[in-house]
Subunit: 244 residues, 2 copies
């Protein structure tokens, strides 16, 4: 049995009860070093196996091998395991491990946890787009950002920065500024739900020159998004269209 | 104090620990009748106030009034309160209740819970779009769907059906079929995490003629999405681009 668990931001309080119970019932916990260490703070006395980033395939194969031998294995991912997480890779690799039962337990992805910190930026239609070009050509990322802006979707940007990608958010903002106004309400959250959490609301023009890292999640508002009492709020339209 | 709580699909196990604790600490629980009744199954001995759908403004104002009088109020929403939920409306209305402290607690939205049931359909970039035209013109919905398809985003459709909107998913599929192939891998989940849960994986052409209701969430794959051992899986690209 292999359970793929989204742990949310990392602290115990952000786990679902289903995720917590699955971790407690597991024998072996597998994950990227940073996230496995977060889990280790509140789930003790388990066998842990961690690999650094770029070792995803090795990590998932190891988890499947252990599960095929009858162990109860939990593979942990930050946020939701189905959003830029390991769930799809496990399903792909599991074709070689037909005996293993796989279960995915959803978790609070950064679009939701970061959105709650900023206010309510995603109350209407939105897109989630990663700026990481490790596995996706940059031209495809550019195309997706441009079309999402044309569609007037709120946009959540995952992986906006990182090693060798320090200017990617600047590039993304430049593309968006060809379509969206410079004063579009935007926001970002660093270290959501963790030590050092900070959040900022600013314009798209200001966002362009903001340094971010891989633990930052960025929010671009849609045409209705506004600043209300220090919060980034995208109305759904109840106050205009009806719903009284 | 007004805490806006996303409860996920509805059963206790899908709550985060943070959400459960906030419900337990509240005095008054406010919500749409259906969801408040789900909460009432596991949070007893509270004062409950419920309103039917289309009474959202009244419900949020009532919650703010109670909170302004010093009560500890929890406003519950299914899924995440920031995704087509009440969070933005509360922030808008709260301008008239400056003394009330507002806190948003994220929850498992249907894109995540439904995705976990189907497999891993959202492991790459995606859009979340509602087909409800109660508060959004249908032309805007059409435009967003078309652009999301052109962007090769996986698409999650919320509110695909309902009273007086029984042909909306058919319309949406017809628009998408002008851009996407008829055999595009799609899926849908009814009553996620509740009694009567059912899920199906099918082609876009087949989806077009599928009857759905307001408790259904629909997933349209991107160009890489495939069926693996009965699961809907959108690869992130680890097996092609690198990451070994």
């Amino acid at each position: 049995m292999l359970t793929i668990i989204g742990i949310g931001p990392g602290d115990r309080q952000y786990l679902t009860i289903e995720a917590l119970e699955a971790l407690e019932e597991s024998e072996v916990i597998v994950g990227y070093t940073v996230y496995a260490e977060l889990v280790q703070k509140f789930i003790k006395d388990k066998e842990y196996y961690t690999t650094p980033m770029t070792q995803e395939t090795k990590r998932c194969e190891w988890a499947l091998e252990k599960a095929a031998k009858g162990r109860r294995v939990a593979l942990v991912c930050s946020g939701d395991s189905g959003v830029y997480g390991m769930a799809s890779l496990v399903y792909e690799l599991a074709e070689n491990f037909p005996s293993v039962t796989i279960r995915v337990i959803p978790g609070i992805t950064a679009a939701l946890s970061g959105g709650a910190v900023l206010g309510a930026p995603l109350t209407h239609d939105f897109a989630v787009i990663s700026l990481s070009d490790r596995l996706t050509p940059l031209e495809r990322i550019e195309k997706r950002l441009r079309l999402a802006a044309q569609a007037d979707l709120s946009i959540v940007i995952y992986n906006p920065g990182g090693k060798n990608r320090s200017d990617y958010l600047k590039k993304a903002c430049e593309w968006l500024l060809e379509i969206l106004p410079a004063d579009r309400v935007c926001g970002y959250v660093k270290n959501i739900g963790r030590e050092g959490e900070e959040s900022h609301i600013l314009t798209l023009e200001e966002l362009k020159d903001t340094p971010v890292d891989m633990f930052t999640t960025v929010f671009i508002g849609n045409s209705s998004t506004k600043l209300i009492n220090g919060r980034m709020v995208t109305p759904r339209g109840y106050r205009i269209g009806g719903g009284n």
